[in-house]
């Protein structure tokens, strides 16, 4: 039989702890595949953050550091400044990156740290049981916004890509999704470009729209539909590449 795909060598051979239908697993796989393809494993240091992906250090067959909630970009900065030839990536949820760690991500981006950030946006706090995140959609219910998010009360969702695109530091920003096979492939490409951008000494971030069937209280199939219908209108899929004159080249994905 002809095999179309195999387990990436950079993923440790063990079962993920993620819930059925959760797309964290797909994203892990894509990161591992890209690093393998680019043959970067020997000089890569990954940073696991806090959230459902806290155990990422168990899954990647790479040197890994686990960071405090939100602080991964600062940890990455420390590593990268000391080892400028290394390849450093952080893997962060939306609560981690856009709430408690907002200062760290903005400043790492503003400094143009040559790191790659994998930013998994599932619109709420998965690990702690579905609380409001800065990315929670208006009207979306969470355990701490049981009547649905209201702009007057909880403020507006934060669009990280658009926010970071106001800074001169980043070289590559993309928002992708993994709810269809076609989008998975686009995400893989964006992740690859984000690592290539790091090799070009640029700060790069890929925001990946992800599912959380458990806390959305939807089936895996309904979750995929929810990404399509609810998330995409608020979080458009886009790729921004900084050109030589400092302006952004924008591609809809």
């Amino acid at each position: 039989m002809h095999r179309l795909a195999e387990r990436p060598t950079l993923l440790v051979d063990r079962a993920f702890h993620y819930c059925p239908g959760c797309t964290h697993g797909i994203i892990h796989r894509l990161v591992a595949e890209v690093l393998e393809e680019l043959q970067l494993a020997d000089r890569t240091i990954g940073i696991a953050s806090v959230g459902c992906s806290v155990l990422a250090y168990e899954y990647f067959d790479l040197d890994m550091q686990q960071a405090a909630h939100g602080r991964a970009p600062a940890v990455a900065t420390g590593i990268k400044r000391f080892l400028p030839d290394s390849v450093v990536f952080t893997y962060q949820g939306d609560g981690d990156l856009a709430s408690i760690g907002m200062a760290e991500i903005i400043h790492a981006a503003a400094r143009g740290e040559a790191i790659t950030v994998i930013f998994v946006n599932n619109t709420l706090y998965g690990m702690t049981g579905g609380q409001l995140a800065p990315t929670t959609l208006l009207e979306q219910k969470s355990t701490t916004s049981p009547q649905g998010r209201k702009a007057e009360r909880e403020g507006h969702p934060i669009k990280v890509i658009e926010l970071l695109s106001t800074l001169a530091g980043p070289g590559f920003l993309a928002r992708t999704a993994v709810h269809t096979p076609a989008q998975v492939l686009k995400t893989r490409k964006a992740i690859k470009e984000a690592f290539l951008a790091q090799l070009d000494k640029c700060f790069a971030l890929v925001e990946i729209l992800s599912t959380c069937p458990t806390n959305w209280k939807l089936s895996p199939v309904e979750s995929v539909e929810w990404v399509e219908k609810q998330m995409l209108p608020v979080y458009p899929l886009v790729k921004l590449e900084r050109s030589d004159d400092g302006t952004w080249l924008k591609t809809q994905l």
Partner: protein, 355 residues
């Protein structure tokens, strides 16, 4: 070697460079900013990394990253900043990453003031952050020791794989004195556990999450054992004129020097006073103090806080002898004569006789 006139903060910074410190991450706060200002110029000269972080929280996490990658790394701050670093320090202690953390204390709590103080004794010697860990705490008494103890701090940090605190007060940090700087270190210890990329070996993981009860317990027991070992091997103190003393003054940092003056004045008056100066605040030299303080003696603790080391002294002497306290909380140290007054009072002499 030639002595140089150096401010305590600068002596510390240069000694760090000579100790092989190749990374510094910090955020400005009085009265320690000279450390980072000095290193901003000096570290690039020796091929090291200097970065002003966006906050103390970011700075300590940069320390965590660099320490994990094998750097000899330092950060410095003062009380309010150390509070912010607390989370990161807990992670560093849990993951056993070596680094040096300098606290040049100012008066608090809250914003307090920028005056000299020793009010962060409890914060440093117990634990600044969560979860119950210990870090060695070295308390320099002047510019020379800012250099010497910093050099030692890096050594201890690597030897025990732990964050080490330098707990100085603004008097030590700001005063200029003649300092003989230590030699440049020749070789740095190998760090096979560091995350440098897994070339030619299995992956290294730096992590403080233990979801399995047994693993967590084993990890914490191992940390506790290490702390015991540090307490056994690394307790440091200085004592002068204690052998025949009726009154032993216990003070640390710059204050120990003022206390020493008071002790000498007391001796001139015929009161047998002695000085006991803890150099490591954790581990606290409790056994040495207990030995110095036999049952016919009295103890006077002098601090620039409301009585923080006092608790350790009381524990050490275990109610066997009277313990007096003189504390200053406004940012000014007590004068030698004020300490002398207390010594005389405890010795039963009249204050009038000393003036």
């Amino acid at each position: 070697m030639q002595k140089k006139l150096l401010q305590g903060n600068v002596a510390l910074a240069e000694a760090a460079v000579r100790a092989g410190c190749n990374c510094y991450f910090g955020y400005p706060i009085t009265p320690q900013t000279e450390i980072m200002e000095y290193l901003a110029g000096r570290l690039p000269e020796v091929g090291g990394v200097f970065l002003q972080a966006e906050s103390e929280i970011a700075a300590i996490n940069m320390v965590y990253g660099a320490a994990g990658a094998g750097a000899r790394v330092m950060t410095s701050s003062s009380g309010p900043g150390i509070s912010l670093k607390a989370e990161g320090i807990s992670y560093l202690a849990a993951t056993e990453l070596p680094c040096v953390i300098v606290n040049v204390m100012r008066a608090g709590p809250g914003l307090g003031g920028i005056q000299p103080s020793q009010a962060d004794y409890l914060q440093a010697t117990r634990s600044a952050g969560h979860g119950g860990y210990r870090c060695p705490v070295l308390a320099p008494s002047g510019a020379q020791e800012m250099a010497d103890l910093t050099y030692l701090a890096f050594q201890l940090a690597d030897q025990y794989r732990t964050p080490v605190f330098i707990l100085a007060d603004a008097l030590v940090g700001q005063t200029k004195e003649l300092v003989e700087l230590p030699e440049f270190i020749k070789t740095l210890p190998a760090k096979p556990w560091a995350t440098t990329g897994k070339t030619g070996r299995k992956r290294n993981v730096i992590n403080s999450l233990y979801l399995d009860d047994n693993e967590l317990e084993n990890h914490n027991l191992q940390l506790l054992q290490k702390y015991e070992q540090i307490a056994l091997s690394e307790t440091r103190w200085e004592e002068q004129w204690c052998t025949d003393a009726q009154i032993i003054v216990v003070a640390f940092g710059f204050l120990a020097r003022i206390a020493k003056e008071a002790v000498l004045l007391a001796r001139e008056m015929g009161i047998k006073a002695g000085l006991f100066r803890p150099v490591t605040l954790w581990p606290f030299p409790a056994a040495a103090l207990r030995q110095a303080v036999t049952s016919d003696r009295k103890v006077l603790v002098v601090e620039m806080n409301g009585g923080q080391m006092l608790e350790d002294v009381q524990l050490a002497v275990n109610k066997q002898v009277p313990v007096g306290f003189l504390g200053k909380v406004g940012g000014l140290p007590p004068e030698a004569r004020e300490i002398l007054g207390r010594i005389a009072k405890m010795a039963g002499e009249k204050i009038a006789q000393i003036s």
